[in-house]
Structures are given as structure tokens and as C-alpha cells.
């Protein structure tokens, strides 16, 4: 089992990828990113504000050496997502993209038909496509057939904090695609959610709201970094089987006489 996570050209020591949205301040973001141990962050692509100086401010607050994973968040059509991805490549000098084609405003579930189309287009253009998707194994297979570099199923809706809503679905994906990079993207609310997702077979976890909107984002960032590593180690360590009854951990022999 590899101890690093390879995404595109990046070899990541931490299996936690953090978003950069929703922080109360850029200083807070910087500190949270730093303590989390993450080596890759997602960024959004948005129009610059004309007349405002300092569009670079955000980037300047990213810890040095941080790899960028631009997303196409907010795109509701394959076409918008493709154009946004191209702009992201131009902006960031890298062809890695977290591909989102959203199909519903309230749940932010993907539009899988548009997602498949955009994946196909971008792969042909040389992108390393990491598609945000549902947990449907047939959709995952079609994404992979179109050249997706990983599958990124949601644990639960983006920002919902519901954690792993369907553990069985993640188990199925891991079993059907044993050699595919599987990143759980969205829904993680606390450390145990992150550890559980890793134990179910994820190679990494991408999250934003769970950290950025916690009361103390820095503490939660650290917690998430530890939990992802804990879950990864636990998955590889071969846990004990669950039993209904007990099994003593101290010797049964050698008791003093009553």
C-alpha cells in the first residue's frame, strides 16, 4: 500500500485535500491549512473585480509549495465547466481539475450526464480530470472509461456535515474499482467521519465546510489531518472482527484463589 497519494504530477504525503472557501479571514485560512498538513488545496475560478487592486491577495495566503486543484464549482452545464477548466489551466499552469457539473441547487448533486460529457472533452484536451460525482458504480465506470484520473464520490451533500451517508456504497466502489484512486469529496463533518471514510477504502478526502465553518477551524483542520492519517493506517492495519460477545484481554489463568 502506497504511503503517498499521487494525483496528476503531485505526490502527496497528506491524504487530506482542503478547500479554501468560507474562512472568516485569510489569516485563519492560512493557519488552518498549515496545521492540517495538507499539501493540496482546491481553489475556485471567478471573475476578477475590476477597479479593485490586489486580486492576488488570496493566493498569497496559501502556504508555500501548496499544490492547487482548481474546481469548476458553480457550473451547471458541461460547457461552462469546460470553459472554466480551460481558464483554470491558463491561470494555474497546471492541467489538474476538480470537475463539477452541478445539477441541482439545493443538494448540489452532480448532473452525471453533463459530467460524463465534460470529462470526455477535458481528457481529450489533456486534463487530469477528478470528477465530483454521486456514489453510483455505473457512473463511476463510465467516468473511468472516459479517462477520469480518479473517482470522487460524495459522502453526503456538499457542506451538509452528514458524514458518510451510505457506507455500503463506498464499500461497493472500493471493491469494484480496487486500483482506482478514490477520493471522498463532500459531506464530512467531523474527525470520525473522515476516519470512517478512509477505513471504508478511500485514498484521500477532500473537504471544505467541515473545517472552514467549524467554530475553531484551526483545531478542526488539525483534527482532520490526524483523522485522515488514522483512518488510512487503520484500513491497512487489519482491524479485529466484530463479535457479539466479549473476549478477555487479560490472562484467564493465574488468578489468586478466592
Amino acid at each position: 500500500m502506497s504511503t503517498t497519494l499521487r494525483l496528476g504530477d503531485h505526490e502527496l504525503s497528506s491524504r487530506l485535500i482542503l478547500g479554501t472557501g468560507k474562512y472568516a479571514s485569510l489569516e485563519l485560512m492560512k493557519e488552518a491549512l498549515t496545521v492540517s498538513g495538507t499539501e493540496m488545496v482546491t481553489v475556485a475560478v471567478r471573475r476578477v473585480e475590476l477597479g479593485e487592486r490586489g486580486t492576488g491577495a488570496f493566493i498569497d495566503y496559501l502556504p508555500e509549495g501548496m499544490a492547487l486543484l482548481p474546481n469548476t464549482a458553480g457550473c451547471y452545464t458541461a460547457d461552462d465547466a469546460v470553459r472554466t477548466a480551460r481558464l483554470a489551466r491558463e491561470a494555474g499552469y497546471s492541467s489538474l481539475v476538480k470537475l463539477e457539473v452541478i445539477g441541482d441547487e439545493r443538494t448540489l448533486y452532480p448532473d452525471v450526464v453533463g459530467l460524463l460529457e465534460a470529462t470526455e472533452t477535458l481528457v481529450k484536451e489533456g486534463f487530469t480530470v477528478l470528477p465530483y460525482t454521486n456514489t453510483d458504480p455505473v457512473v463511476e465506470r463510465e467516468l473511468l472509461e472516459r479517462g477520469a484520473a480518479a473517482i470522487m464520490p460524495l459522502a453526503s451533500p456538499i457542506g451538509s456535515g452528514q458524514g458518510v451517508s451510505d457506507a455500503n456504497a463506498l464499500r461497493i466502489l472500493r471493491e469494484l474499482f480496487p486500483d482506482t484512486t478514490l477520493i471522498v469529496d463532500a459531506g464530512v463533518g467531523t474527525a470520525s467521519d473522515a476516519a470512517l471514510a478512509m477505513e471504508l477504502g478511500a485514498d484521500g478526502i477532500l473537504m471544505n465546510t467541515g473545517v472552514a465553518s467549524a467554530a475553531d477551524p484551526v483545531a478542526m483542520a488539525r483534527a482532520m489531518g490526524l483523522a485522515v492519517e488514522a483512518g488510512w493506517l487503520a484500513a491497512s492495519a487489519g482491524r479485529i472482527p466484530r463479535k457479539l460477545h466479549a473476549s478477555a484481554s487479560s490472562p484467564n489463568e493465574g488468578m489468586i484463589s478466592s
Partner: protein, 71 residues
């Protein structure tokens, strides 16, 4: 009709355009650092290396974007 009326659409708003303005100059006029933005012109990305070769036309539709915090 007059030159003064020439505009380009930038990020959804009309901006005045001096005839013959090159993209690199235009960005500079807007106070933007080309190293930190990406530009789409009429739905095609203009690579940074070509900013100095592209002359804007009245009616061009530009999207000028940068990275911001997001998840």
C-alpha cells in the same frame, strides 16, 4: 458610431475600448497583473504568451478570472 462609443464586454459589463488596444495593454489599464489572471476572449482562452499579440476588437466578450477561495 464614433470611436468613443467602442466598447468591449468584460466580465458582464461594457468597458470603453481605445481602438487598436492590445490585450496586454488593456489588462494593464485595468490594473490587472497578467501573471495572476486568465483571459477568455469570445469563448476561447488567450494564452498569456499571446497577450501581446492580440488586438481587441469592439464588441469582444472577455472573461477575466483569477483563483479565489473555494471548495
Amino acid at each position: 458610431m464614433s470611436d468613443a462609443a467602442a466598447t468591449v464586454r468584460v466580465n458582464g459589463r461594457d468597458e470603453p475600448l481605445e481602438p487598436g488596444t492590445r490585450l496586454d495593454v488593456f489588462l494593464s489599464q485595468l490594473g490587472l497583473d497578467a501573471q495572476r489572471v486568465a483571459v477568455e476572449r469570445n469563448r476561447e482562452v488567450v494564452p498569456r504568451s499571446q497577450h501581446g499579440e492580440v488586438t481587441l476588437e469592439p464588441g469582444d466578450v472577455l472573461e477575466i478570472v483569477a483563483f479565489v477561495g473555494g471548495g
